[in-house]
Structure formats: structure tokens, C-alpha cells
């Protein structure tokens, strides 16, 4: 039995804005096993991104524990964090003052030991692994298209080969072609590198295409945590609307053969 990568137990999180406390998660439990591609879905403002930020240690739980790779998530952010978790932010979060190559090489360069040539070689390999042309190496982030920004951000997240990759809306803001290409890339990286991937998204196509498991966050809990085929039949109004609404059925129809073998 492989130990799980992420274990969340009894998590409560919330904010207090001007004295008014709003609870986002109450007693939330979630376990993510090695090698999974887990999609977290839920309504807008339902706390999906907050859950992701809890796993990164960017938020502090009010109660409960978040354990990532056997350690509390709050201790994740120390030196060399890039070798433990990679995060793809929704808008890429590239450093706008650096070129593409410098952005990708940044986590390695900050370690301050490895020679520049080696770091550049590693960054160039990662750049091409995510399907970028070597000629883009010296471009600035402001000169890139949305799809390219996401690819650079993905290469940067993976530069130290972390076993866990978190994605926040990986296909948002991409045109359908770019989104499909990005999905294909994510799937091949997931398989080739043996990554554990956690993804927050609204995009049904992406969910059907990639996930091996789906966790639905609603009513401050994870209401379902199951393979896609089981999850879509869960009797909860949000799940029914989300997956079996018009858009859901359409997405499933297109991907029918694939949904079968999930």
C-alpha cells in the first residue's frame, strides 16, 4: 500500500472580513493517492482554490491538518520547495522582469550551487518537454500568448521534478485548440513522469479528458470523492446540474468512448 501524497483531515478554513466570519470548509476530509489525477470541482466561491492554497501552505487551517508528502503543508514553503510541489497558477504568475529561460531556471538558480550551464541545459529540456520552441528562450513574458504563458509556467513548476503538481484552472482563457493541446500535454506528462496531479477547473472537457478521480466540493465538504463514472451519478443537486446538465451531457457525448474506459 503506497502512502498517500496528500491527506486532509477535519479541515476548517474561513476568513473574517470586518468581524464577520465566513466559513469556507467545515470538517473537510480528502486523501489523494500517488499517481492520481484528481479534479476538484465545485461552484464558484465554493472554496476550491482555497483548498488548493491550503495544500500549498499559503493559507492556515483554522482547524484540522493538511499533510503533504508526509509533512504539514505549512512547512512546505522552505528552501527547495520547488522539488516537492509544483504549482501552475491561473494566470501563470511568470516573473515579468525575467525572460522565459530565466523564469524556468529561477528555482534552480536560487539554490546557488549548480553551474549556470547545467541549469540552462535543464531549463531548455523542460522548455521543450512542455512543447515550446527553443527560440522562445529569450522572449519576455509580455511577448507570449496565453497558451505559451501557461506552458512556461508549467515548465517552471516542473523544473525540479516535484512528485506533486497542482493546477488552478489550467485551461481557462485558452482557445479550444490551445486548451486541447494543453490537456494532451498534461496527460502525457502525468503518465511519463509518474506525477500526482491535483486540478481545480470548471471546464468539463478537461475533467472528462484527464481526471482519474473527481472530488466535488459543495456545502463546505467534499461530497463525493470517486472515479468519474461513479461521481456523476451522485444524487446531489450540484452534481446533477454540473455533470448531467446540457453542457455536461454534450461533453460526455463527445468523449463517450473515453468515459467508458475510465
Amino acid at each position: 500500500m503506497k502512502p498517500p501524497v496528500v491527506v486532509i483531515q477535519g479541515l476548517c478554513s474561513g476568513f473574517s472580513v470586518r468581524g464577520v466570519r465566513s466559513v469556507i470548509h467545515q470538517d473537510l476530509n480528502l486523501t489523494i493517492a500517488r499517481g492520481e489525477f484528481l479534479s476538484i470541482v465545485g461552484g464558484s466561491g465554493g472554496g476550491k482554490t482555497v483548498l488548493l492554497r491550503q495544500m500549498l501552505g499559503l493559507e492556515t487551517p483554522l482547524q484540522g491538518t493538511v499533510t503533504v508528502l508526509g509533512e504539514p503543508a505549512s512547512e512546505l514553503g522552505g528552501a527547495g520547495a520547488a522539488s516537492r510541489v509544483g504549482m501552475l497558477f491561473q494566470h501563470g504568475a511568470l516573473f515579468s522582469a525575467f525572460t522565459v529561460l530565466e523564469n524556468i531556471a529561477f528555482p534552480l538558480r536560487e539554490l546557488g550551487v549548480l553551474p549556470k550551464n547545467l541549469i540552462h541545459d535543464v531549463a531548455m529540456v523542460k522548455m521543450q518537454m512542455v512543447g515550446l520552441d527553443p527560440a522562445t528562450a529569450h522572449k519576455m513574458p509580455s511577448d507570449l500568448s496565453g497558451g505559451m504563458v501557461k506552458r512556461v509556467a508549467l515548465a517552471r513548476a516542473l523544473v525540479m521534478d516535484p512528485p506533486l503538481l497542482l493546477l488552478d484552472e489550467p485551461t481557462a482563457g485558452l482557445d479550444p485548440d490551445a486548451a486541447d493541446a494543453f490537456c494532451t500535454l498534461l496527460r502525457s506528462l502525468h503518465q511519463e513522469l509518474g506525477l500526482t496531479v491535483v486540478m481545480v477547473t470548471h471546464d468539463l472537457d478537461t475533467i472528462f479528458e484527464l481526471s482519474t478521480r473527481v472530488a466535488v466540493v459543495a456545502d463546505k465538504h467534499v461530497i463525493v470523492d470517486a472515479p468519474l463514472r461513479e461521481a456523476i451519478h451522485f444524487p446531489h443537486p450540484f452534481v446533477q446540474d454540473f455533470f448531467l446538465g446540457e453542457r455536461g451531457l454534450r461533453a460526455m457525448e463527445v468523449l463517450h468512448p473515453r468515459t467508458q474506459d475510465v
Binding site: K2, V5, R34, G35, L69, G70, E71, G80, S83, R84, S96, A97, L101, L108, L111, G112, V113, L114, N117, L118, H120, D121, V122, A123, M124, V125, K126, M127, Q128, M129, P134, A135, A137, H138, S142, V159, M160, D161, P162, P163, E192, L193, G194
Partner: protein, 405 residues
């Protein structure tokens, strides 16, 4: 792989289960790094270089791991070309480790190598994608010459858009005078509050302290000549005519000039400026005019406020350091400083206010839709505002040298 000599791969490890089981172990538990090391072992099959430990970026990047490891890698690569590289005992080989080996091997497979499937995949990816990054572009003298031209044209374009902005402001003032009821009054009062009211504490504090310091320094010098009473002349003239307005203007340039550029710049970054244009709202009238009006109104008041605070500080310091009573100070002040100095200071402050507002708007409107440009614009705005305030102050000093002296 057959092209690179005659390497042979252990496609499956002899001892350890399936690929799957191995794929699980080397990629996980990255937190404890074991020392990456290389040892030379001799067996019946010949010499082999056995690699052990964790060959990952995190483990390699320890200074006490890196230096000896690099030395032994280079030594072995040179001396033992015929030896078999045995990678099967590596706990974790990531792309950085693979790249390191690949570079050590001279960017091709060594003659004999024993790898696990997963490691071979990683090495193959490195082999496939290892290209040198393209050379960064070097600027040639011709390009530098062209850059100079660009820079000069840039000045011209700054001048042009500054002129345009000023002209538009003049038109907006006419528009305002024709129908003041339709003016953006809420914006104006908001800016007056933000630029003026909230700046009262900081300007008072800075003014007061400058007054204290100036009076204290002057009193030491004046006492040497027995000219104690002249402290009123010096403080009154310097603070009312020069320091009060300039201090207030510099503080406001740093505080509000940058804020104006940042506000308008963010509107550019988030497309709000284009949204206004699409809706047919005149941005000059809604963005530039209220700020210019608010600053032109507020600056003289702030200058007066700063001057009063500085005079209070000076009065206090004069009392403490040379026993010059505040009553004497207040009675002497109107006699030695003509009223025209105050009017000059107020007029100057209106000009400073307009200048800071226009400057802030000018740089804000020129921000390009990216965050770096926003930062550059804000810096440029503050630096230019402060420089302009001092230049214009010098201009006033020359133009009005016959007034109030």
C-alpha cells in the same frame, strides 16, 4: 541507441520486481536527500562505476555534495572510458541529475551503461531535448545609434503628449466653466480628501521638524555675530517664500503623484481606459481634470499648513535655544516678511499642484498594459515631478526676484 557505440541496457532489473514498483520508489519521498555518490567497483564482468544515492536537483544542490561529486565525475569520465556506468542503484534520478550525467558523458551515451527503464526514459528525454540555448542578442554599434535616435524621438513624443494633455485640460476647464453643474464633483471632492486631508499629519510633522532643525542651526551661527533677532527674518523668509511650498510639493509629488500614475496605470492594465472610451466618456474630463483641479486647490492650502507647522517648530527652537520669546517672534514676523511673499508662495503652490497632477496623469496614461511598465511609469512620474517642482521653483525665484525682498 545503436548509433552511439554498443551500449547495452538492462531493460529490467534483475533483482527488483516490476518497473511499476520501481517507478513508485524513486519519484517519491523527495524530502530526505541521500548523498549522491559514485564508486568504482571491480567484478568478474569488469570495472563498473556504480552510482548511488539521490541524483536529484535538491540533493545535488548541496554545496558539500556538489564539489566532491563534480570532481569525481570528471575524473571518472576521463579515466574510465571503458567502465560500465551502473545507474540501477540510484534512489532517485530526476532531469537535473540526468542532465548532469549526460553532460559528463559528453552529450552521448557511454559505451556501457546499465539503467532501469524509467531512468532510460528520463535520459532519453534529456538526450532528445538537449540543445544549447540560443545566444542572447548582442547590441551592435548601429543599433546603439538607432537607440539614441529612439530616445530622442521618445523625448519628442513625451513633449507632444504633455502638450496635448495640457491643451485638453484647458479645453476641459472651458467646458467646466460653461456648465459647472455637470462637473464630476464627487471625484473632485474625493481627490481633495485623499490628496489634501489625509496628507495633513505627514506635512505637519515634516514641516515642524524642518523648522526646529533650521532654527537650531541658525541660532548657533547668528549668536557668533550677536545677531540673534535676525532669526525671525531668516526663518520667515526661507519658510514662507521657499521651503514651505517646496516641501509640501515634494511630499505631495511623492505621495499623490505616484498614486495618480498608479491608479491610471492600473486602469490601462485592466482595460478600464479603453472601456471608458468605448462608452464615450471623456477621460480627460473624468480622470485628468478632477485631479488637476483638486491638486491646484489643495496645494496652496497644504503649503500654508506646512509653513505654519515649520514656523511653530522654528519658534519653539528659537525660544529654547536662544530665549527669543514667541510674542516677539509673532510681532516681528509681519514687519520683516512682506505680504507679497505669501501671495507668491500661494501662486507658486497652485503651479506645483497643477504640475504634479499633469505629470502623474501623463505618465499614468503612457503605461503599457503590463506590470513592469506600471512600475517604471510610477518611478518616472515621481522623479520627474520632484525635479520639475524644483526647476519651476528656481524659475519663480528668477522671475520674481524683485517681489517682496
Amino acid at each position: 541507441m545503436s548509433a552511439s557505440g554498443s551500449p547495452y541496457f538492462a531493460s529490467k532489473p534483475v533483482t527488483r520486481g516490476t518497473i511499476h514498483a520501481i517507478s513508485a520508489s524513486p519519484l517519491i519521498t523527495p524530502v530526505q536527500h541521500t548523498l549522491p555518490r559514485i564508486t568504482k567497483e571491480t567484478s568478474s564482468e569488469g570495472e563498473s562505476l556504480v552510482l548511488r544515492g539521490s541524483w536529484s536537483a535538491g540533493a545535488l544542490a548541496h554545496l558539500d555534495h556538489w564539489t566532491p561529486l563534480q570532481e569525481s565525475l570528471l575524473r571518472h569520465a576521463k579515466a574510465d572510458a571503458e567502465a560500465t556506468w551502473d545507474l540501477r542503484h540510484i534512489e532517485r534520478l530526476d532531469h537535473t541529475g540526468a542532465q548532469l550525467l549526460w553532460n559528463t558523458w559528453g552529450r552521448h551515451w557511454p559505451r556501457h551503461v546499465l539503467v532501469l527503464d524509467l531512468q532510460r526514459d528520463t535520459l532519453n528525454r534529456v538526450a532528445r531535448f538537449a540543445v544549447l540555448p540560443p545566444k542572447p542578442h548582442r547590441t551592435t554599434p548601429k543599433e546603439m545609434f538607432l537607440k539614441l535616435g529612439e530616445w530622442i524621438m521618445g523625448i519628442e513624443s513625451h513633449a507632444e503628449s504633455a502638450l496635448r494633455l495640457t491643451g485638453q485640460l484647458a479645453l476641459d476647464v472651458l467646458h467646466f466653466l460653461r456648465d459647472p453643474s455637470k462637473a464630476p464633483w464627487r471625484d473632485i471632492s474625493g481627490h481633495i480628501y485623499r490628496v489634501g486631508t489625509t496628507a495633513l499629519p505627514i506635512t505637519a510633522l515634516v514641516g515642524f521638524l524642518i523648522g526646529v532643525v533650521l532654527a537650531y542651526l541658525m541660532s548657533r551661527q547668528l549668536r557668533q555675530f550677536g545677531a540673534d533677532a535676525f532669526i525671525v527674518n531668516i526663518l520667515g523668509m526661507a519658510l514662507i517664500r521657499e521651503l514651505g511650498p517646496v516641501l509640501a510639493a515634494i511630499l505631495i509629488a511623492g505621495r499623490s503623484g505616484s498614486a495618480i500614475t498608479a491608479q491610471i496605470g492600473v486602469m490601462r492594465v485592466t482595460d478600464e481606459l479603453d472601456a471608458m472610451r468605448v462608452m464615450g466618456i471623456r477621460r480627460g474630463y473624468r480622470l485628468v481634470f478632477p485631479r488637476a483641479l483638486a491638486l491646484a486647490l489643495v496645494m496652496p492650502l497644504l503649503a500654508a499648513w506646512t509653513t505654519v507647522a515649520a514656523l511653530l517648530g522654528g519658534m519653539l527652537a528659537a525660544d529654547l535655544s536662544m530665549g527669543l520669546s514667541p510674542e516677539y517672534f509673532l510681532i516681528a514676523l509681519p514687519k520683516v516678511v512682506q505680504l507679497s511673499n505669501l501671495w507668491l508662495a500661494m501662486g507658486k503652490s497652485v503651479a506645483f499642484g497643477l504640475l504634479i497632477a499633469l505629470n502623474g496623469c501623463h505618465f499614468g496614461l503612457r503605461v503599457l498594459p503590463n506590470t513592469q511598465s506600471l512600475g517604471e511609469g510610477t518611478t518616472a512620474s515621481v522623479v520627474t515631478s520632484i525635479t520639475m517642482v524644483i526647476l519651476v521653483d528656481a524659475l519663480f525665484a528668477v522671475l520674481f526676484k524683485g517681489v517682496g525682498l
